[in-house]
């Protein structure tokens, strides 16, 4: 009989465990179905030189990061100095998609605060962003030599994410 009394206690502990795990999860982080699939192709006009285009196909053979950003996006600004710092190390080239933004405003911001991107392209209508399943900028994709998405960061890249997720993967994929 005493054993039976333990059942509610065990159930309660199990419930608390579920809640604890649930509380520490970010419900806004939805796993992307694109991981380990080829990065969607696009050809978009470059931010700095509008008559030139860029396509992910040009990046075959390289490990690189594609970062979706916008001047309207507060979290992107928060991420910006870190991206600048990482771009200087030259560990992984970072390319940008300026997402639903005004070209002039975007250029002005990059000129004032520094430009971490090898180049940025402009996606004024957000169509490429839809193809990549972007729903909360900034989002960053680590793409391997074969053009396959290996990792996706939703929300700003932090020091921890860069050290623990991007760098080790990039190193491994470059070998």
């Amino acid at each position: 009989m005493n054993k039976l009394l333990l059942i509610p206690l065990v159930l309660f502990i199990a419930l608390v465990a579920f809640l604890l795990v649930g509380l520490n999860r970010d419900p806004h982080e939805v796993p992307s179905p694109l991981i380990n699939l080829p990065a969607p192709d696009f050809t978009l006009s470059q931010l700095r030189e509008p008559n030139k285009t860029f396509s992910p196909k040009e990046m075959r053979g390289k490990v690189w990061v594609l970062n979706f950003w916008g001047t309207w996006c507060v979290a992107c600004r928060e991420e910006h100095p870190l991206l600048l710092e990482y771009s200087k190390t030259g560990a992984v080239p970072i390319y940008g998609v300026d997402y639903k933004d005004d070209r002039e405003v975007a250029l002005q911001m990059l000129n004032q605060e520094g430009d971490p991107y090898v180049l940025s392209v402009s996606d004024p209508e957000g169509r490429t962003s839809i193809d990549y399943g972007v729903y909360g900028a900034p989002e960053s994709y680590l793409i391997d030599r074969d053009g396959v998405i290996r990792f996706k960061q939703i929300g700003p890249i932090t020091r921890e994410v860069w050290q623990k997720e991007f760098l080790p993967r990039a190193k491994q994929l470059s070998q």
Partner: protein
């Protein structure tokens, strides 16, 4: 950090609400109706408790535009839903598909129901066994009769 993103998302939702560039009076009402029926089954990823039909977030607007265009291009509902799940995952569906990762979601409640019924059945059976007749001894019977007559202590 999480909170910053959260607050940002809330503002994004609110900002969308004030913008209200939604009115599409020139659109074909048939297409609008189909789009509405479809987007009512879909979740907006920015404001997760809103449907794509109701959400005023920028992304929801873009996705409605995308769906509108696909309807015009003659795509059927399955194709449009496949387009969205390929990009955003099953999470956009308010009606999740039955597959290995969702077995617990779909069948969990039934398993709990069956387990609960089993526990209840065993408990009731056990209790009935406990109350099973245990005849009084002669002494106890006599005492009981005294109590009932009101002659006790």
């Amino acid at each position: 950090m999480k909170y910053v993103v959260l607050v940002m998302l809330v503002f994004l939702c609110l900002a969308g609400a004030t913008a209200a560039k939604e009115a599409q009076p020139n659109e074909d009402p048939k297409i609008e109706q189909r789009m509405k029926a479809l987007t009512e089954q879909l979740r907006c990823l920015v404001c997760q408790n809103e449907t794509l039909a109701d959400s005023r977030a920028d992304l929801a607007e873009d996705l409605r535009r995308e769906i509108r265009e696909q309807i015009k291009a003659g795509k059927n509902d399955q194709e449009i839903i496949a387009f969205l799940t390929a990009r955003y995952g099953d999470f956009v569906l308010y009606n999740p598909p039955v597959k290995r990762t969702t077995y617990l979601l779909w069948f969990g409640p039934f398993i709990l129901l069956i387990a609960g019924t089993g526990v209840l059945y065993r408990y009731l059976k056990h209790r009935r066994e406990l109350i099973s007749d245990e005849p009084l001894t002669a002494d106890q019977r006599q005492r009981a009769e005294e109590i009932l007559r009101g002659e006790s202590g």
